[in-house]
């Protein structure tokens, strides 16, 4: 943790094998991310929001939680969280191409959006910050039933300005709900820099005003992320309530494939940021620490490439959703093509 803020105990760190697995996931995600961006440029994927630069924050936090048990409210930039949760490249890519059988929304929603019941994964909408009170309500439900699931909710620095963020955090603190607020602060909301988003330089500084701990961490360092998340989850499970983690990250690419960041972002800015590329940094560290060897690294690369290639082929060949599914699921019981009114 960069600036541990106070009453949050240090969490346990990742084991070597966990580190290795996180690196594998980050490399896989990066390969997938580059591919879908390319597919957008080829006119195949209508819209892409890239996670490049954010991977350590997402992978590190998911790794510190219990997949299939804890609960995940993510947002559009969380491709690496999806990969970490175990969605396959083909499943994810089928969202980018909105193909039949897409697991989250049946191709109805933007890529990565929808939900996955088995994974306790929700990415309901594109509307920034709506997930925050929803995640709080989700945690309330777990608490009411006496379950020990922790709900983590991801959001950006822009989202922190929305009223729903305030209302959700306040409620979670009052009821000491098992929530981890995970802010991926990349310094931009599309083109709006942090200095126009807030008069302070950290979202985590607001945590105290709600009565919960807030920590600022280096979001490019998986270990720091893992530790902070583990500590927050422990607090949550112990009934001590929510924690706000602010992971400082960088957005390498434009906001989405529709954006042109040269209109507002100094080039040097990104070059500078890329020096702290979380995937490269982790690779170097694991090599140095003897946790990763070149051979394994090459295998990871090759596997990632193959998985992404296979996914591309599979998904490009897949059919579009059947138009007759259009009227399904407006209300419970709506299936089979009948209009609801």
């Amino acid at each position: 943790m960069d600036q541990g803020r106070t009453d949050i105990a240090p969490g346990r760190g990742p084991t070597d094998s966990e580190l290795l697995e996180m690196y594998r996931l980050m490399a896989l995600c990066r390969a997938l991310d580059e591919r879908v961006w390319l597919m957008n440029r080829q006119g195949k994927a209508a819209i892409v929001a890239s996670a490049q630069g954010h991977e350590a924050g997402q992978v590190g936090s998911v790794a510190a939680l219990r997949i299939g048990h804890d609960r995940f409210y993510i947002y559009y930039r969380d491709l690496a969280a999806l990969v970490s949760l175990g969605l396959t490249p083909a499943q994810i890519m089928s969202g980018f191409l909105a193909k039949a059988g897409e697991p989250l929304s049946g191709g109805r929603q933007f890529p990565t959006h929808g939900a996955h019941a088995g994974l306790n994964l929700v990415n309901l909408s594109n509307v920034v910050a709506t997930q925050i009170p929803q995640a709080v309500g989700d945690a309330l439900a777990s608490k009411m039933r006496g379950e020990d699931a922790v709900t983590i909710v991801y959001f950006g620095d822009g989202a922190a300005s929305v009223g729903d963020c305030h209302e959700g955090m306040n409620f979670a603190a009052i009821h000491k709900l098992p929530v981890v607020f995970f802010c991926e602060n990349n310094g931009y909301a599309i083109s709006v820099p942090l200095s126009k988003q807030m008069a302070v330089d950290s979202v985590a500084g607001r945590a105290e005003g709600y009565g919960m701990p807030g920590v600022v961490i280096d979001g490019t360092d998986v270990s720091a992320v893992y530790e902070a998340t583990a500590a927050a989850a422990e607090r949550a499970r112990a009934g001590e309530g929510p924690t706000l983690i602010e992971a400082m990250v960088e957005r390498y690419l434009p906001h989405t494939s529709d954006d042109d960041d040269s209109r507002y972002r100094p080039r040097g800015d990104i070059e500078e940021a890329r020096k702290k590329d979380p995937v490269k940094m982790l690779r170097e560290r694991l090599l140095a620490d003897g946790i990763l060897d070149e051979e394994t690294d090459e295998r990871f690369s090759a596997d990632a490439k193959r998985a992404v290639n296979e996914a591309t082929e599979e998904v490009e060949a897949a059919p579009h959703p059947d138009p007759s599914s259009f009227y399904d699921h407006v209300y419970a019981g709506d299936t089979g093509g009948a209009s609801s009114r």
Binding site: L104, S105, R108, S125, V127, T130, E167, F171, V330
Partner: protein, 324 residues
């Protein structure tokens, strides 16, 4: 039993029946709700299931939605419908699309209750009728009952419904309207209108408080030899278009009455359905009596009276229609 008693008993029974049901909202705990809809609940069910929330409507809806997506069945109270606008993003934008946007993986079985309507000296901000906005929104259900019997049966169905229901209670009916409610448990189907008075000359289609004024006007007309059929919509989404068309076809003359302002209101849809699908049966224009096109109901009694449709205006419209 009064309407507010029906609300209370419906919730009490559903909470006793299903552990997943809980209530949340402002002042619903020790205070028992500003209209006493949850009087005694905190004593009976405890603070965990009767949650006094902070003053923050957007999150009341958002938190209810999150709890619903995670297996609970929240009933959230918006203290007055006038304060429901902050929930729009979480309700219209989010809850209404949960099932569709997840292709059925998740649902949002939540009820948002709100006392609405005027004639109570509530002024601009304690008199509003928000039904048209929600009735326009696919993915929601909108219920607006008029009697204790319908209120109890429909609220119980709303709580059991798998989809988000906006449950609108006309606050002037709370203590004013009384009626029999059976001791045995019952539910009523959402989406079914109800003929509250059979008739053959003209149809009046209404809901909520206005239904009672329509029935009063219809009784006046009966004395004048005009037979009025009164349809109570009860549910505003989905509208019971079969019942609407049946009565329109039967009498050939339709008057729609609501307190909410006229333009792009629920009455417009009822008129449009009839004009589209019962055109051949019509013997007169489709008429509407509705709130005037001013932003809200004023506080002054003289001005409030200008807003509220009354029995006289309704009876006059019936007479005009009967003359065709």
């Amino acid at each position: 039993m009064s309407v507010i008693d029906a609300v209370r008993e419906a919730m009490r029974e559903e909470m006793a029946r299903d552990e997943r049901v809980f209530v949340m909202g402002e002042d619903i705990g020790a205070r028992g709700g500003v209209f006493l809809a949850t009087d005694g609940f905190v004593e009976q069910f405890g603070e965990e299931r009767v949650i006094d929330t902070p003053l923050a409507e957007s999150s009341i809806a958002g938190i209810a939605l999150g709890a619903a997506m995670n297996g609970m069945r929240p009933i959230a109270e918006i203290e007055f419908a006038d304060f429901i606008w902050p929930t729009f993003n979480q309700v219209v934008g989010e809850a209404a699309r949960v099932r569709y946007g997840t292709a059925g993986s998740l649902g949002a079985p939540m009820v948002l209750r709100a006392p609405y309507g005027g004639g109570v000296r509530g002024g601009l901000y304690h008199s509003q009728s928000p039904e048209a906005y929600f009735a326009h929104t696919p993915g929601l259900k909108v219920v607006a009952p008029a009697t204790p019997y319908d209120t109890k049966g429909l609220l119980k169905s709303a709580v059991r419904d798998e989809d988000p229901v906006i449950f609108l209670e006309h606050k002037r009916t709370y203590r004013l309207v009384r009626g029999d409610v059976p001791d045995e448990e019952y539910t009523l189907p959402i989406g079914a209108a109800d003929v509250k008075m059979e008739g053959s000359d003209i149809s009046v289609i209404s809901y909520g408080l206005m239904l009672h004024l329509c029935l009063e006007a219809a009784r006046e007309l009966a004395d004048e030899g005009v037979s009025v059929e009164a349809l109570d919509l009860r549910t505003l989404r989905p509208l019971d278009s079969e019942a609407i068309l049946a009565t329109a076809r039967k009498t050939g003359k339709a008057l729609i009455v609501h307190e909410d302002t006229k333009a792009v209101g629920v009455g417009a849809e009822v008129a449009a359905i009839i004009a589209e699908e019962a055109f051949e049966y019509l013997d007169g224009p489709i008429m509407r009596v509705a709130g005037p096109e001013v932003p809200a109901m004023p506080f002054s009694p003289t001005l409030e009276a200008m807003f509220m449709p009354d029995t006289e205006r309704i009876a006059n419209a019936m007479r005009e229609l009967a003359r065709y």
